[in-house]
């Protein structure tokens, strides 16, 4: 049992307890509660300011705004398969050495010579036809045709892959006609989000958000490449002028780089 006095800074609580030896004891507890104003913060704001010792003149200044963009690197990204070192193959004899080191290169200096030495005569004018064009080339028999253990020799002038004419089925480069340039997007939008949004229309082959090199903050535009031109056109119709967060996207086909 207990009885408590209320509405007073001093609270007295009395209760009875039976001790181990069977005697009943009265215990009185007096608790003094102290009142602390709830708005102590407000009160402190009105306290007089003081400067003991050397007075200093300080005014708070606002600094440049900082974007607290947490950069999260995923540890679970699949590791890139290591590319095995390209095998060296001699263009003259096909062995594992550089063409310039070929022991028989002096003997096969000209195409005619070469044909005489190592391969049966190719069809037509004897001009070498590269394997990719062979199907369209005259005659069905190439150096690899039955009857000849021919060594393919390409004596055409070397053309770097980037300059070569595009063949059907080749991967599309950045200047592809299926790439959209998405501009006027917030800085915080990242690849995952953009890809998720644009995948609703068609298969997104590539998605790249342009970022500042140092800060990794978005520069406000991105490139989205689709597998087909139809998808890209549909995406342009669908997303041009649509809002993303507080901004309105502008979607157009990307201009070739040059």
């Amino acid at each position: 049992m207990s009885e408590a006095a209320t509405e007073s800074p001093t609270t007295t609580t009395t209760f009875y307890k039976i001790r181990d030896d069977g005697k009943k004891v009265k215990i009185t507890r007096t608790v003094t509660s102290e009142f602390v104003p709830a708005s102590m913060i407000e009160e402190r704001k009105n306290w007089p300011r003081y400067a003991h010792g050397n007075e200093i003149n300080v005014s708070p200044k606002a600094d440049q705004e900082i974007n607290l963009n947490f950069l999260v690197k995923h540890d679970k990204q699949p590791k890139k398969a290591t590319v095995p070192a390209a095998k060296v193959k001699c263009r003259v004899c096909g062995s594992n050495h550089m063409t310039i080191n070929c022991p028989i290169k002096d003997k096969v200096i000209s195409p005619e010579n070469l044909i005489n030495v190592s391969a049966p005569a190719p069809p037509a004018a004897g001009k070498y036809v590269s394997p990719s064009r062979r199907a369209a080339g005259p005659g069905a028999g190439g150096p690899g045709a039955p009857g000849g253990s021919g060594i393919p020799v390409n004596l055409e002038k070397f053309v770097p892959p980037g300059v070569r004419a595009m063949r059907p089925g080749m991967m599309h480069s950045q200047d592809s006609e299926n790439t959209l340039r998405v501009s006027n997007i917030p800085e915080t939008v990242d690849e995952h989000r953009l890809r998720r949004k644009f995948s609703t229309v068609g298969q997104v082959v590539r998605c790249h958000v342009s970022r500042h090199h140092d800060t990794n903050v978005g520069r406000g535009f991105a490139f989205v490449a689709y597998a087909t031109r139809v998808d890209a056109e549909r995406a342009k119709e669908r997303f041009n002028g649509m809002p993303i967060d507080q901004m309105i996207m502008h979607v157009d086909f990307a201009q070739p780089r040059n």
């Binding site: 913060i41 003081y50 010792g53 300080v58 708070p60 200044k61 705004e65 995923h74 699949p78």
Partner: protein
């Protein structure tokens, strides 16, 4: 987020501390001055400089009525927060007479660190090894409920077993002390018996900072070996250890009370700055559970000496070797950020 920059000190900042309500921010420095700021606007509330040397440490009571500082001038001083004056107490002078004078306790060694007991009836003090004094933790009984007649009495002295103490903090029950040592080890000491219960080496270099979580059940240490370590108070200091790898020596680390975020700050030593490129004077943000490096906030022109997080977790302040304090109020994107969602997205993306 737009940081507020205040420069009230001419020499390096030693420590920053918020009061319990979080409306005041205390800063102490090598220039003998204590500055008190309003944490929301960065306005100056008051300054005092009655110390004779660099101020080493500060602690404020829970009701924000007084604060205690200790300094390299071998003194501990008790201040009234409202007036900025020293408290007065009755004590015996050299002639044995009882006199009333300012509450400035002269000391034989340099007091390096102090902390008020969670029950506010004891005071912990770590003394330095300089001037041929032994390293020790000194515990005082204090009674500051009546600021007119404060009482202070020495209770106990605890000496370290091995390496000297750097900092020491009370645990949640107030019966034990967690102490950081110069050789990178952490120990747990019972106050009642004065015996070291447990000691474990967690760092390869000396520990600079030791801060408790708000409920005092776990703590974080920051070391010059570029790591910060989070450990629970109970336990063997081996299991449940979280290590946060920074990229320079760390001077301070703090635990956010509302989010799973650790903020650690540091930088190259001022001596090494001219001989190497890039000081990395940045505050690192880590995820507390996954130890992931989330990002960093720069802006200082010297190593960050102290980091304090607002008791409500809404802002943090960093003080640097160049004497400036930057108060950062977090904006909406910080509170919306959820690391768990990021992990889920990452898994979906790789699949």
């Amino acid at each position: 987020m737009i940081p507020i920059v205040v420069k009230g000190h001419e020499r390096p900042i030693n420590q920053l501390k918020y009061n319990t309500d979080g409306d005041l921010l205390f800063s102490i420095s090598h220039d003998r001055r204590v500055c008190i700021w309003f944490s929301d606007t960065g306005e100056l509330f008051g300054t005092t400089d009655k110390h004779g040397g660099a101020v080493n440490c500060i602690d404020i009571d829970r009701k924000s009525t007084f604060f205690i500082t200790c300094s390299t001038d071998f003194a501990i001083q008790f201040w009234n927060l409202k007036t900025g004056e020293l408290l007065e107490y009755e004590h015996e002078n050299k002639e044995g007479e009882v006199v009333r004078g300012p509450m400035r306790i002269k000391y034989s060694a340099i007091p390096r660190f102090l902390q008020i007991h969670p029950d506010e009836n004891k005071l912990l003090l770590v003394q330095d090894t300089k001037m041929n004094q032994p390293s020790a933790i000194v515990i005082y009984d204090i009674d500051m409920h009546d600021l007119e007649n404060p009482v202070l009495k020495q209770n106990k002295v605890i000496y370290p077993k091995g390496s000297p103490y750097v900092k020491a903090v009370w645990t949640y029950d107030g019966k034990r002390i967690i102490a950081a040592h110069q050789d990178g080890s952490v120990s747990r000491t019972c106050v009642e018996t004065g015996e070291c219960e447990l000691s474990a080496k967690v760092h390869n270099d000396n520990i600079v900072d030791l801060q408790m979580s708000q409920d005092r059940s776990y703590f974080i240490t920051a070391s010059r070996d570029e790591t910060a370590v989070l450990l629970p108070v109970d336990g063997d200091f081996q299991t449940m250890k979280k290590k946060f790898q920074g990229d320079t020596g760390l001077n301070s680390a703090a635990i956010s009370p509302i989010k799973d975020i650790i903020i650690a700050g540091g930088g190259k030593k001022s001596i090494e700055v001219t001989t190497s490129s890039g000081g990395k004077f940045e505050a690192h943000f880590f995820n507390k559970l996954f130890q992931a490096d989330l990002g960093r906030v720069g802006g200082h022109f010297g190593p960050i000496n102290s980091i304090a997080i607002h008791p409500y977790g809404t802002s943090y302040a960093s003080g640097s070797e160049d004497g400036t304090i930057r108060i950062h109020h977090f904006d909406k994107s910080y509170f919306e950020f959820d690391y768990n969602e990021v992990i889920k997205e990452g898994v979906e993306d790789t699949e």
